[in-house]
């Protein structure tokens, strides 16, 4: 069974998305001084994007720190990216960067705090994704 771990900056878009999702979720803290959540089980990561026009700096530093631990990385099942299509080719780029690094799929991408359609898709998808997990474990 895959849980949800997310990062959201002070603007709170991703946090609002996760709140509407209504699933138990652990938050990666904004401040480096705060402790990382304890991860014991497989999880899906929801991550916003902060890249410049060239795609640099897409993955938030705190998410990099979080994934720097190989035990956490091993439990990562997939990634959901957030961003804004206004940023063109770098839309939700952080999800692609993490997917490449960790060899997991990009499950979904949404803009800002997501639409009702995004919420439905991700909620249903995560249930199904959990189901698939059960078959393979």
């Amino acid at each position: 069974m895959a849980g949800v771990v997310f990062f959201s900056s002070a603007s709170g878009n991703t946090a609002r998305f996760v709140a509407r999702l209504g699933l138990p979720a652990l938050r990666i803290p904004i401040r480096p001084a705060e402790p990382m959540p304890a991860i014991e089980a497989p999880f899906v990561l929801i991550c916003p994007t902060y890249s410049d026009g060239q795609g640099r700096g897409a993955v938030p530093k705190q998410v990099i720190r979080f994934l720097n631990d190989p035990r956490r990385r091993d439990l990562l099942q997939g990634v959901i990216g957030a961003g804004n299509r206004n940023f063109g080719a770098t839309f939700a780029l952080s999800a692609r960067v993490i997917a490449d690094k960790c060899t997991v799929p990009v499950l979904w991408r949404f803009e800002l705090a997501g639409t009702d359609t995004d919420i439905q898709k991700v909620r249903a998808g995560l249930q199904h994704f959990r189901g698939m997990e059960c078959l393979t474990v």
């Binding site: 900056s9 720097n68 804004n84 299509r85 206004n86 063109g88 799929p105 979904w108 991408r109 359609t117």
Partner: protein, 318 residues
């Protein structure tokens, strides 16, 4: 008593978002000279006269909004700034709006006849819908107006009002026309996203300092201003796009962007998903490689599973 003059210290931040956005905006700095607009001369010649007139008018309307934001909007937000760094970011925003306004004149001087452009500037001054939306926003920018309502107006200009205009270059680009012009417009679209995000973020910080009744008042104000602006945008859109039969397509794009503008303020969507289904060709023009990564339904979309990259913990600094 005189106020003490203070120097800005970027090594002492009250709000880290200020530095994050400053860095983003300065790294993204650009000028229209960087885009080879003259490569669109041949493409421009393939447009029919009515299409050319429409394009010039749309760009003139955008110039007007950028001018408002450059000379009035962004500067009017400065006295309300909570941190000195916020003022510095706003000065960058104000200047980039001037670059945007200047860019449309670069497009005009490259592609159009002076007579055509002069006619469009006259049209902009006389067009009731364009004037009405500018007036609604300018009313909120007035000295002595409510600082949080001013931010709402600013976000609606940056994240909603531009999009009846931005639609057209994305449409031409999706048909392989005026593709260099579209490249320039994408740079503007990128900047406006950061501007709307930042001012919306500062609005939400401001909301944290006021009581429940005031929050309810501001939310009512935001939604009724959105309704008023939308009503004008509908008419503006119909007047411009009825001739080439694109009005309904543009309206879906308006609904989609209105919802994003509200999200920048921390509010929920106004328009339901079924009226926000933007033409996929327009979405693709906006963000190439914007196909949905629908891994969940396995609908054959191009979800990305990473190429296996062997990593050491030490090089895990992407």
């Amino acid at each position: 008593m005189q106020a003490v003059a203070r120097a800005i210290n970027w090594n002492r931040l009250d709000d880290e978002k200020d530095l994050e956005v400053w860095n983003r905006l300065t790294v993204n700095f650009w000028l229209p000279e960087k885009v080879p607009l003259s490569n669109d001369v041949q493409s421009w010649a393939t447009l029919r006269p009515a299409e050319r007139e429409l394009t010039i008018r749309v760009f003139t309307g955008l110039t007007l909004l950028d001018t408002v934001q450059n000379t009035v909007g962004a500067p009017s937000l400065m006295p309300d700034a909570i941190t000195p760094h916020e003022e510095a970011v706003l000065s960058n925003i104000a200047f980039m709006e001037a670059v945007h306004a200047r860019s449309y004149s670069s497009i005009f001087s490259t592609l159009c006849l002076t007579r055509e452009v002069d006619e469009a500037f006259r049209w902009a001054e006389e067009n009731p819908h364009l004037q009405a939306k500018a007036r609604l926003i300018l009313d909120e920018y007035k000295a002595g107006a409510d600082p949080l309502k001013r931010k709402i107006a600013s976000v609606f200009l940056e994240s909603f009002l531009f999009y009846s205009g931005f639609y057209l270059p994305m449409y031409w680009s999706s048909r392989a026309k005026l593709t260099n012009t579209a490249d320039l417009i994408r740079l503007i679209i990128r900047d406006e996203a950061v501007h709307g995000y930042y001012v919306g973020y500062k609005f939400q910080r401001g909301l944290e300092r006021v009581d429940e009744a005031r929050r309810a008042e501001l939310k009512d104000f935001a939604f009724s201003l959105m309704f008023e602006l939308y009503d004008i945008e509908q008419k503006y859109t119909a007047e411009l796009y009825d001739g080439i039969g694109l009005t309904e397509d543009v309206k879906a794009f308006l609904h989609y962007n209105a919802n994003k503008a509200l999200q920048n303020l921390g509010y929920e969507a106004l328009f339901p998903p079924q009226v926000c289904e933007v033409n996929p060709a327009i979405l693709a023009a906006l963000s190439p490689d914007s196909e949905n990564h629908d891994f969940f339904s396995g609908s054959g979309s191009s979800y990305v599973i990473g190429k296996a990259v062997a990593t050491e913990d030490e090089d895990w600094d992407f």
